[in-house]
Subunit: 211 residues, 2 copies
DNA sequence: TGTAAAATGTTGCAATTGCAACAATAAAGT
DNA sequence: ACTTTATTGTTGCAATTGCAACATTTTACA
Protein backbone atom coordinates (compact mmCIF):
# COMPACT_ATOMS: atom_id res chain seq x y z
CA UNK A 1 0.00 0.00 0.00
CA UNK A 2 1.41 3.32 -1.08
CA UNK A 3 1.61 5.97 1.60
CA UNK A 4 -0.11 9.22 0.78
CA UNK A 5 2.91 11.09 2.09
CA UNK A 6 5.46 8.96 0.33
CA UNK A 7 8.45 11.00 -0.85
CA UNK A 8 7.35 14.02 1.13
CA UNK A 9 9.52 15.26 3.98
CA UNK A 10 8.02 15.38 7.48
CA UNK A 11 8.23 19.15 7.40
CA UNK A 12 6.37 19.46 4.13
CA UNK A 13 3.92 16.86 5.32
CA UNK A 14 3.01 19.15 8.18
CA UNK A 15 2.59 22.07 5.80
CA UNK A 16 0.30 19.98 3.65
CA UNK A 17 -1.82 18.86 6.55
CA UNK A 18 -2.13 22.45 7.60
CA UNK A 19 -3.09 23.68 4.15
CA UNK A 20 -5.65 20.93 3.77
CA UNK A 21 -7.22 21.89 7.07
CA UNK A 22 -6.59 18.50 8.52
CA UNK A 23 -7.64 17.28 11.89
CA UNK A 24 -6.28 14.26 13.65
CA UNK A 25 -8.75 12.01 15.43
CA UNK A 26 -8.42 8.81 17.40
CA UNK A 27 -11.23 6.33 17.88
CA UNK A 28 -11.47 3.32 20.13
CA UNK A 29 -12.62 -0.05 18.87
CA UNK A 30 -16.09 -0.45 17.35
CA UNK A 31 -16.71 3.24 16.85
CA UNK A 32 -18.41 4.81 13.85
CA UNK A 33 -16.05 7.31 12.32
CA UNK A 34 -18.41 9.09 10.02
CA UNK A 35 -20.94 9.82 12.72
CA UNK A 36 -18.32 12.15 14.16
CA UNK A 37 -17.52 14.10 11.05
CA UNK A 38 -19.77 16.88 9.99
CA UNK A 39 -17.71 18.50 7.29
CA UNK A 40 -18.63 18.17 3.66
CA UNK A 41 -16.28 16.68 1.18
CA UNK A 42 -13.47 14.97 3.03
CA UNK A 43 -10.76 12.43 2.63
CA UNK A 44 -9.73 10.39 5.62
CA UNK A 45 -6.33 8.82 5.96
CA UNK A 46 -5.98 5.86 8.26
CA UNK A 47 -2.76 6.48 10.16
CA UNK A 48 -3.03 3.41 12.34
CA UNK A 49 -5.58 0.75 13.18
CA UNK A 50 -8.16 -0.95 11.02
CA UNK A 51 -11.61 0.03 9.81
CA UNK A 52 -14.33 -1.52 7.70
CA UNK A 53 -16.77 0.20 5.43
CA UNK A 54 -20.08 -1.56 5.82
CA UNK A 55 -23.41 -1.22 4.13
CA UNK A 56 -26.53 -2.54 5.80
CA UNK A 57 -29.69 -2.53 3.74
CA UNK A 58 -33.34 -2.45 4.72
CA UNK A 59 -33.39 -6.26 4.92
CA UNK A 60 -30.61 -6.25 7.44
CA UNK A 61 -28.14 -7.72 4.98
CA UNK A 62 -24.68 -6.41 5.64
CA UNK A 63 -21.99 -6.15 3.04
CA UNK A 64 -18.41 -5.29 3.73
CA UNK A 65 -17.59 -2.84 1.01
CA UNK A 66 -13.98 -2.31 1.97
CA UNK A 67 -11.58 -3.19 4.69
CA UNK A 68 -8.95 -0.55 5.27
CA UNK A 69 -5.53 -0.91 6.80
CA UNK A 70 -2.76 1.52 7.64
CA UNK A 71 -2.22 4.20 5.00
CA UNK A 72 -5.44 3.47 3.23
CA UNK A 73 -7.86 6.28 2.61
CA UNK A 74 -11.59 6.78 2.55
CA UNK A 75 -13.74 9.73 1.74
CA UNK A 76 -17.02 11.16 0.70
CA UNK A 77 -16.10 10.81 -2.94
CA UNK A 78 -13.94 7.74 -2.87
CA UNK A 79 -16.06 5.49 -0.76
CA UNK A 80 -19.78 5.44 -1.23
CA UNK A 81 -20.66 7.80 1.54
CA UNK A 82 -22.77 10.16 -0.45
CA UNK A 83 -25.85 8.56 0.95
CA UNK A 84 -25.55 7.89 4.58
CA UNK A 85 -26.35 4.20 4.70
CA UNK A 86 -22.69 3.34 5.01
CA UNK A 87 -20.86 2.90 8.23
CA UNK A 88 -17.16 3.35 8.75
CA UNK A 89 -16.46 1.14 11.70
CA UNK A 90 -13.21 0.81 13.59
CA UNK A 91 -12.21 -2.81 14.18
CA UNK A 92 -9.48 -1.73 16.55
CA UNK A 93 -8.27 1.54 17.99
CA UNK A 94 -7.60 3.74 15.00
CA UNK A 95 -6.20 7.16 14.25
CA UNK A 96 -7.17 9.12 11.18
CA UNK A 97 -6.43 12.41 9.53
CA UNK A 98 -9.41 14.12 8.03
CA UNK A 99 -8.57 16.53 5.21
CA UNK A 100 -10.65 18.72 3.02
CA UNK A 101 -11.07 17.24 -0.43
CA UNK A 102 -11.96 20.46 -2.19
CA UNK A 103 -8.74 22.02 -0.97
CA UNK A 104 -6.81 19.39 -2.87
CA UNK A 105 -8.15 20.63 -6.15
CA UNK A 106 -7.06 24.13 -5.21
CA UNK A 107 -3.49 23.18 -4.44
CA UNK A 108 -0.80 25.02 -6.31
CA UNK A 109 1.05 22.11 -7.78
CA UNK A 110 4.10 24.11 -8.66
CA UNK A 111 5.36 23.22 -5.21
CA UNK A 112 7.12 19.89 -5.28
CA UNK A 113 5.41 18.38 -2.34
CA UNK A 114 1.91 19.29 -3.46
CA UNK A 115 2.80 17.76 -6.77
CA UNK A 116 4.01 14.59 -5.13
CA UNK A 117 0.95 14.50 -2.92
CA UNK A 118 -1.49 14.56 -5.80
CA UNK A 119 0.43 11.87 -7.64
CA UNK A 120 0.41 9.70 -4.54
CA UNK A 121 -3.30 10.24 -4.22
CA UNK A 122 -3.77 9.23 -7.83
CA UNK A 123 -1.85 6.02 -7.30
CA UNK A 124 -3.78 5.11 -4.17
CA UNK A 125 -7.08 5.68 -5.87
CA UNK A 126 -6.05 3.54 -8.79
CA UNK A 127 -5.14 0.78 -6.36
CA UNK A 128 -8.59 1.18 -4.91
CA UNK A 129 -10.16 0.72 -8.31
CA UNK A 130 -8.23 -2.49 -8.73
CA UNK A 131 -9.61 -3.70 -5.41
CA UNK A 132 -13.10 -2.88 -6.54
CA UNK A 133 -12.61 -4.64 -9.83
CA UNK A 134 -11.55 -7.70 -7.91
CA UNK A 135 -14.60 -7.45 -5.74
CA UNK A 136 -16.87 -7.15 -8.76
CA UNK A 137 -15.12 -10.07 -10.36
CA UNK A 138 -16.02 -12.18 -7.35
CA UNK A 139 -19.58 -10.98 -6.97
CA UNK A 140 -20.18 -11.68 -10.62
CA UNK A 141 -19.68 -15.41 -10.15
CA UNK A 142 -22.95 -17.28 -10.01
CA UNK A 143 -22.30 -19.97 -7.43
CA UNK A 144 -20.94 -19.84 -3.92
CA UNK A 145 -18.20 -22.23 -4.89
CA UNK A 146 -17.06 -20.06 -7.76
CA UNK A 147 -17.14 -16.96 -5.59
CA UNK A 148 -14.95 -18.65 -3.04
CA UNK A 149 -12.51 -19.97 -5.63
CA UNK A 150 -12.28 -16.59 -7.30
CA UNK A 151 -11.61 -14.98 -3.95
CA UNK A 152 -8.94 -17.56 -3.18
CA UNK A 153 -7.26 -17.04 -6.53
CA UNK A 154 -7.18 -13.28 -6.17
CA UNK A 155 -5.78 -13.42 -2.66
CA UNK A 156 -3.31 -16.08 -3.63
CA UNK A 157 -2.12 -14.04 -6.60
CA UNK A 158 -1.61 -10.99 -4.35
CA UNK A 159 0.84 -12.73 -2.09
CA UNK A 160 2.17 -15.27 -4.52
CA UNK A 161 1.56 -18.10 -2.07
CA UNK A 162 -0.98 -20.89 -1.80
CA UNK A 163 -1.75 -20.03 1.80
CA UNK A 164 -4.34 -17.37 2.39
CA UNK A 165 -4.44 -15.51 5.65
CA UNK A 166 -8.03 -14.40 5.91
CA UNK A 167 -8.21 -10.72 6.81
CA UNK A 168 -11.77 -11.40 7.91
CA UNK A 169 -13.46 -13.84 10.18
CA UNK A 170 -15.84 -16.16 8.32
CA UNK A 171 -18.89 -14.12 9.15
CA UNK A 172 -17.31 -11.09 7.56
CA UNK A 173 -16.03 -13.07 4.62
CA UNK A 174 -19.58 -14.14 3.85
CA UNK A 175 -20.63 -10.50 4.00
CA UNK A 176 -17.85 -9.52 1.64
CA UNK A 177 -18.84 -12.23 -0.82
CA UNK A 178 -22.50 -11.31 -0.36
CA UNK A 179 -23.55 -14.85 0.44
CA UNK A 180 -25.28 -16.51 3.35
CA UNK A 181 -22.84 -17.46 6.05
CA UNK A 182 -24.21 -20.91 6.72
CA UNK A 183 -24.38 -21.71 3.02
CA UNK A 184 -20.76 -20.63 2.73
CA UNK A 185 -19.85 -22.81 5.66
CA UNK A 186 -21.49 -25.76 3.92
CA UNK A 187 -19.63 -25.08 0.69
CA UNK A 188 -16.30 -24.75 2.49
CA UNK A 189 -16.97 -28.15 4.05
CA UNK A 190 -17.51 -29.66 0.60
CA UNK A 191 -14.34 -28.05 -0.72
CA UNK A 192 -12.44 -29.56 2.19
CA UNK A 193 -14.01 -32.98 1.69
CA UNK A 194 -13.19 -32.92 -2.00
CA UNK A 195 -9.59 -32.09 -1.23
CA UNK A 196 -9.48 -28.62 -2.78
CA UNK A 197 -8.55 -26.76 0.35
CA UNK A 198 -7.41 -27.11 3.91
CA UNK A 199 -8.47 -24.79 6.71
CA UNK A 200 -6.62 -24.19 9.92
CA UNK A 201 -7.64 -21.33 12.15
CA UNK A 202 -8.14 -18.57 9.68
CA UNK A 203 -5.64 -19.83 7.15
CA UNK A 204 -6.76 -21.51 3.98
CA UNK A 205 -4.33 -23.60 1.97
CA UNK A 206 -5.06 -24.21 -1.68
CA UNK A 207 -4.41 -27.79 -2.72
CA UNK A 208 -5.42 -27.50 -6.36
CA UNK A 209 -3.10 -26.34 -9.11
CA UNK A 210 -5.22 -23.80 -10.84
CA UNK A 211 -8.81 -23.59 -11.84
CA UNK B 1 -18.83 13.26 -17.43
CA UNK B 2 -15.79 15.44 -16.94
CA UNK B 3 -13.55 15.86 -19.94
CA UNK B 4 -9.93 14.96 -19.35
CA UNK B 5 -8.92 18.11 -21.22
CA UNK B 6 -11.35 20.37 -19.45
CA UNK B 7 -9.92 23.85 -18.87
CA UNK B 8 -6.96 23.13 -21.08
CA UNK B 9 -6.52 25.11 -24.28
CA UNK B 10 -6.42 23.22 -27.59
CA UNK B 11 -2.81 24.22 -28.00
CA UNK B 12 -1.76 22.92 -24.63
CA UNK B 13 -3.87 19.85 -25.22
CA UNK B 14 -1.72 19.08 -28.25
CA UNK B 15 1.44 19.58 -26.22
CA UNK B 16 0.13 17.22 -23.61
CA UNK B 17 -0.78 14.56 -26.10
CA UNK B 18 2.68 14.85 -27.55
CA UNK B 19 4.42 14.63 -24.19
CA UNK B 20 2.35 11.63 -23.21
CA UNK B 21 3.29 9.89 -26.43
CA UNK B 22 -0.28 9.58 -27.49
CA UNK B 23 -1.56 7.88 -30.55
CA UNK B 24 -4.98 8.35 -32.04
CA UNK B 25 -6.80 5.26 -33.25
CA UNK B 26 -10.18 4.66 -34.83
CA UNK B 27 -12.02 1.37 -34.68
CA UNK B 28 -15.12 0.22 -36.50
CA UNK B 29 -18.00 -1.42 -34.69
CA UNK B 30 -17.45 -4.67 -32.79
CA UNK B 31 -13.68 -4.44 -32.69
CA UNK B 32 -11.49 -5.38 -29.77
CA UNK B 33 -9.41 -2.38 -28.82
CA UNK B 34 -6.93 -3.99 -26.55
CA UNK B 35 -5.97 -6.65 -29.03
CA UNK B 36 -4.46 -3.82 -31.04
CA UNK B 37 -2.39 -2.23 -28.31
CA UNK B 38 0.91 -3.70 -27.40
CA UNK B 39 2.28 -1.00 -25.13
CA UNK B 40 2.54 -1.50 -21.42
CA UNK B 41 0.84 0.80 -19.01
CA UNK B 42 -1.62 2.91 -20.90
CA UNK B 43 -4.65 5.08 -20.47
CA UNK B 44 -7.17 5.25 -23.27
CA UNK B 45 -9.47 8.19 -23.76
CA UNK B 46 -12.65 7.61 -25.68
CA UNK B 47 -12.95 10.61 -27.97
CA UNK B 48 -16.11 9.43 -29.68
CA UNK B 49 -18.20 6.30 -29.91
CA UNK B 50 -19.07 3.72 -27.30
CA UNK B 51 -17.21 0.74 -25.87
CA UNK B 52 -17.89 -1.94 -23.32
CA UNK B 53 -15.45 -3.67 -21.04
CA UNK B 54 -16.45 -7.29 -20.86
CA UNK B 55 -15.21 -10.23 -18.88
CA UNK B 56 -15.95 -13.74 -20.03
CA UNK B 57 -15.01 -16.53 -17.67
CA UNK B 58 -14.22 -20.18 -18.26
CA UNK B 59 -17.92 -21.05 -17.94
CA UNK B 60 -18.77 -18.69 -20.74
CA UNK B 61 -20.51 -16.28 -18.39
CA UNK B 62 -20.10 -12.72 -19.58
CA UNK B 63 -20.18 -9.74 -17.33
CA UNK B 64 -20.22 -6.18 -18.49
CA UNK B 65 -17.74 -4.52 -16.21
CA UNK B 66 -18.15 -1.04 -17.61
CA UNK B 67 -19.81 0.76 -20.43
CA UNK B 68 -17.90 3.80 -21.61
CA UNK B 69 -19.16 6.83 -23.42
CA UNK B 70 -17.51 9.91 -24.85
CA UNK B 71 -14.74 11.35 -22.64
CA UNK B 72 -14.58 8.29 -20.46
CA UNK B 73 -11.26 6.61 -19.97
CA UNK B 74 -9.94 3.11 -19.59
CA UNK B 75 -6.52 1.73 -18.94
CA UNK B 76 -4.30 -1.03 -17.76
CA UNK B 77 -4.46 0.27 -14.22
CA UNK B 78 -7.93 1.71 -14.12
CA UNK B 79 -9.84 -1.07 -15.70
CA UNK B 80 -9.01 -4.63 -14.86
CA UNK B 81 -6.82 -5.35 -17.81
CA UNK B 82 -3.84 -6.64 -15.95
CA UNK B 83 -4.83 -10.13 -16.80
CA UNK B 84 -5.95 -10.49 -20.32
CA UNK B 85 -9.36 -12.01 -19.88
CA UNK B 86 -11.04 -8.69 -20.41
CA UNK B 87 -12.22 -7.41 -23.74
CA UNK B 88 -12.66 -3.80 -24.69
CA UNK B 89 -15.25 -3.98 -27.38
CA UNK B 90 -16.49 -1.13 -29.54
CA UNK B 91 -20.28 -1.00 -29.75
CA UNK B 92 -20.09 1.58 -32.51
CA UNK B 93 -17.33 3.22 -34.49
CA UNK B 94 -15.04 4.72 -31.89
CA UNK B 95 -11.97 6.89 -31.72
CA UNK B 96 -9.53 6.74 -28.86
CA UNK B 97 -6.33 8.35 -27.71
CA UNK B 98 -3.86 6.02 -26.16
CA UNK B 99 -1.43 7.70 -23.78
CA UNK B 100 1.39 6.43 -21.67
CA UNK B 101 0.39 6.15 -18.03
CA UNK B 102 3.89 6.19 -16.64
CA UNK B 103 4.58 9.47 -18.36
CA UNK B 104 1.79 11.05 -16.36
CA UNK B 105 3.62 10.43 -13.13
CA UNK B 106 6.68 12.08 -14.62
CA UNK B 107 4.90 15.26 -15.65
CA UNK B 108 6.28 18.47 -14.28
CA UNK B 109 3.18 19.86 -12.69
CA UNK B 110 4.54 23.36 -12.38
CA UNK B 111 3.04 23.94 -15.81
CA UNK B 112 -0.55 24.97 -15.48
CA UNK B 113 -1.93 22.61 -18.02
CA UNK B 114 -0.18 19.55 -16.67
CA UNK B 115 -1.50 20.51 -13.31
CA UNK B 116 -5.03 20.84 -14.64
CA UNK B 117 -4.68 17.56 -16.48
CA UNK B 118 -3.79 15.58 -13.40
CA UNK B 119 -6.62 17.12 -11.44
CA UNK B 120 -9.04 16.25 -14.22
CA UNK B 121 -7.73 12.72 -14.23
CA UNK B 122 -8.24 12.52 -10.49
CA UNK B 123 -11.83 13.65 -10.79
CA UNK B 124 -12.61 11.19 -13.56
CA UNK B 125 -11.16 8.32 -11.63
CA UNK B 126 -13.16 9.25 -8.58
CA UNK B 127 -16.30 9.24 -10.72
CA UNK B 128 -15.29 5.80 -11.83
CA UNK B 129 -15.02 4.63 -8.26
CA UNK B 130 -18.52 5.89 -7.61
CA UNK B 131 -19.74 3.86 -10.58
CA UNK B 132 -18.05 0.80 -9.23
CA UNK B 133 -19.51 1.32 -5.80
CA UNK B 134 -22.93 1.45 -7.40
CA UNK B 135 -22.21 -1.74 -9.27
CA UNK B 136 -21.09 -3.49 -6.09
CA UNK B 137 -24.16 -2.19 -4.32
CA UNK B 138 -26.31 -3.91 -6.93
CA UNK B 139 -24.37 -7.16 -7.10
CA UNK B 140 -24.56 -7.41 -3.33
CA UNK B 141 -28.32 -7.78 -3.37
CA UNK B 142 -29.42 -11.36 -2.94
CA UNK B 143 -32.44 -11.64 -5.21
CA UNK B 144 -32.98 -10.73 -8.84
CA UNK B 145 -35.81 -8.46 -7.85
CA UNK B 146 -33.68 -6.52 -5.40
CA UNK B 147 -30.87 -6.22 -7.94
CA UNK B 148 -33.27 -4.79 -10.47
CA UNK B 149 -34.83 -2.38 -7.98
CA UNK B 150 -31.43 -1.22 -6.79
CA UNK B 151 -30.37 -0.65 -10.37
CA UNK B 152 -33.54 1.30 -11.08
CA UNK B 153 -33.07 3.45 -8.01
CA UNK B 154 -29.49 4.28 -8.85
CA UNK B 155 -30.29 5.16 -12.44
CA UNK B 156 -33.33 7.12 -11.40
CA UNK B 157 -31.31 9.08 -8.87
CA UNK B 158 -28.72 9.92 -11.51
CA UNK B 159 -31.17 11.65 -13.79
CA UNK B 160 -33.69 12.72 -11.20
CA UNK B 161 -36.53 11.22 -13.19
CA UNK B 162 -38.67 8.14 -12.85
CA UNK B 163 -38.04 7.11 -16.43
CA UNK B 164 -34.95 5.07 -17.07
CA UNK B 165 -33.47 4.95 -20.51
CA UNK B 166 -31.59 1.69 -20.53
CA UNK B 167 -28.08 2.19 -21.85
CA UNK B 168 -28.07 -1.55 -22.50
CA UNK B 169 -30.26 -4.01 -24.25
CA UNK B 170 -31.78 -6.57 -21.89
CA UNK B 171 -29.20 -9.20 -22.65
CA UNK B 172 -26.46 -6.81 -21.63
CA UNK B 173 -28.38 -5.63 -18.61
CA UNK B 174 -28.55 -9.21 -17.36
CA UNK B 175 -24.80 -9.47 -17.86
CA UNK B 176 -24.23 -6.26 -15.93
CA UNK B 177 -26.39 -7.48 -13.06
CA UNK B 178 -24.72 -10.90 -13.26
CA UNK B 179 -27.99 -12.77 -13.49
CA UNK B 180 -29.49 -15.17 -15.98
CA UNK B 181 -31.24 -13.36 -18.80
CA UNK B 182 -34.33 -15.52 -18.86
CA UNK B 183 -34.70 -15.35 -15.10
CA UNK B 184 -34.44 -11.58 -15.33
CA UNK B 185 -37.06 -11.55 -18.04
CA UNK B 186 -39.37 -13.53 -15.77
CA UNK B 187 -38.82 -11.16 -12.85
CA UNK B 188 -39.43 -8.10 -15.03
CA UNK B 189 -42.72 -9.67 -16.07
CA UNK B 190 -43.72 -10.07 -12.42
CA UNK B 191 -42.73 -6.48 -11.65
CA UNK B 192 -44.92 -5.33 -14.53
CA UNK B 193 -47.83 -7.51 -13.45
CA UNK B 194 -47.60 -6.23 -9.90
CA UNK B 195 -47.67 -2.67 -11.14
CA UNK B 196 -44.19 -1.64 -10.04
CA UNK B 197 -42.88 -0.75 -13.46
CA UNK B 198 -43.84 -0.17 -17.06
CA UNK B 199 -41.63 -1.06 -19.99
CA UNK B 200 -41.80 0.47 -23.43
CA UNK B 201 -39.02 -0.20 -25.89
CA UNK B 202 -35.99 0.20 -23.73
CA UNK B 203 -37.52 2.69 -21.35
CA UNK B 204 -38.57 1.66 -17.87
CA UNK B 205 -40.96 3.82 -15.88
CA UNK B 206 -41.02 3.44 -12.13
CA UNK B 207 -44.54 3.45 -10.72
CA UNK B 208 -43.65 3.03 -7.07
CA UNK B 209 -42.76 5.86 -4.73
CA UNK B 210 -39.65 4.54 -3.14
CA UNK B 211 -38.54 1.28 -1.75
C1' DT C 1 -36.10 -6.22 -49.82
C1' DG C 2 -35.23 -10.64 -48.28
C1' DT C 3 -32.55 -13.51 -45.36
C1' DA C 4 -29.61 -14.42 -41.60
C1' DA C 5 -28.46 -13.24 -37.01
C1' DA C 6 -29.49 -11.33 -32.65
C1' DA C 7 -32.56 -10.23 -29.03
C1' DT C 8 -36.60 -11.18 -26.41
C1' DG C 9 -40.34 -13.90 -24.17
C1' DT C 10 -41.78 -18.11 -21.98
C1' DT C 11 -41.75 -22.35 -19.29
C1' DG C 12 -40.56 -26.76 -16.78
C1' DC C 13 -37.35 -28.57 -13.97
C1' DA C 14 -33.24 -29.58 -11.36
C1' DA C 15 -29.70 -27.40 -8.73
C1' DT C 16 -28.41 -24.01 -5.59
C1' DT C 17 -29.26 -20.95 -2.03
C1' DG C 18 -31.14 -18.43 1.84
C1' DC C 19 -33.30 -18.94 6.00
C1' DA C 20 -34.25 -20.64 10.45
C1' DA C 21 -33.07 -23.06 14.30
C1' DC C 22 -29.94 -25.03 17.16
C1' DA C 23 -25.48 -27.07 19.15
C1' DA C 24 -20.74 -26.42 19.87
C1' DT C 25 -16.80 -23.78 20.26
C1' DA C 26 -14.00 -19.65 20.78
C1' DA C 27 -13.33 -15.00 22.31
C1' DA C 28 -14.07 -11.15 25.20
C1' DG C 29 -15.08 -8.84 29.40
C1' DT C 30 -15.26 -8.48 34.45
C1' DA D 1 -11.86 -18.15 36.37
C1' DC D 2 -16.29 -17.56 35.19
C1' DT D 3 -19.91 -15.68 32.58
C1' DT D 4 -21.55 -13.59 28.68
C1' DT D 5 -21.23 -12.75 23.94
C1' DA D 6 -19.70 -13.71 19.35
C1' DT D 7 -18.40 -16.95 16.01
C1' DT D 8 -18.65 -21.26 13.78
C1' DG D 9 -20.71 -25.71 12.29
C1' DT D 10 -24.74 -28.29 10.84
C1' DT D 11 -29.11 -29.51 8.67
C1' DG D 12 -33.95 -29.65 6.68
C1' DC D 13 -36.70 -27.26 3.83
C1' DA D 14 -38.88 -23.81 0.99
C1' DA D 15 -37.84 -20.26 -2.26
C1' DT D 16 -35.16 -18.65 -5.92
C1' DT D 17 -32.35 -19.26 -9.71
C1' DG D 18 -29.88 -21.03 -13.66
C1' DC D 19 -30.29 -23.77 -17.48
C1' DA D 20 -32.16 -25.66 -21.55
C1' DA D 21 -35.20 -25.57 -25.12
C1' DC D 22 -38.09 -23.33 -28.04
C1' DA D 23 -41.28 -19.67 -30.26
C1' DT D 24 -41.47 -15.05 -31.55
C1' DT D 25 -39.94 -10.62 -32.65
C1' DT D 26 -36.56 -7.29 -33.89
C1' DT D 27 -32.42 -5.87 -35.98
C1' DA D 28 -28.56 -6.12 -39.10
C1' DC D 29 -26.79 -6.45 -43.50
C1' DA D 30 -25.89 -8.45 -48.18
Amino acid sequence: MINLFQNISPKNREKLLYTLESSRLTFSKNQLILANITRGNIIGILVSGMVQIIKTDYNGNRCIIEELEENDIFGTNITPLANMDYDILTKEESTVYIIDYDEILNLDLSKDYYNQFVKNLLEIIIEKIEEKNNHIEILTKKTIRNKLLEYFNIESKKTGTRVINLPFNFTNLADYLAIDRSAMSRELKYLKEEGFIEIKNHKITLLYDKY
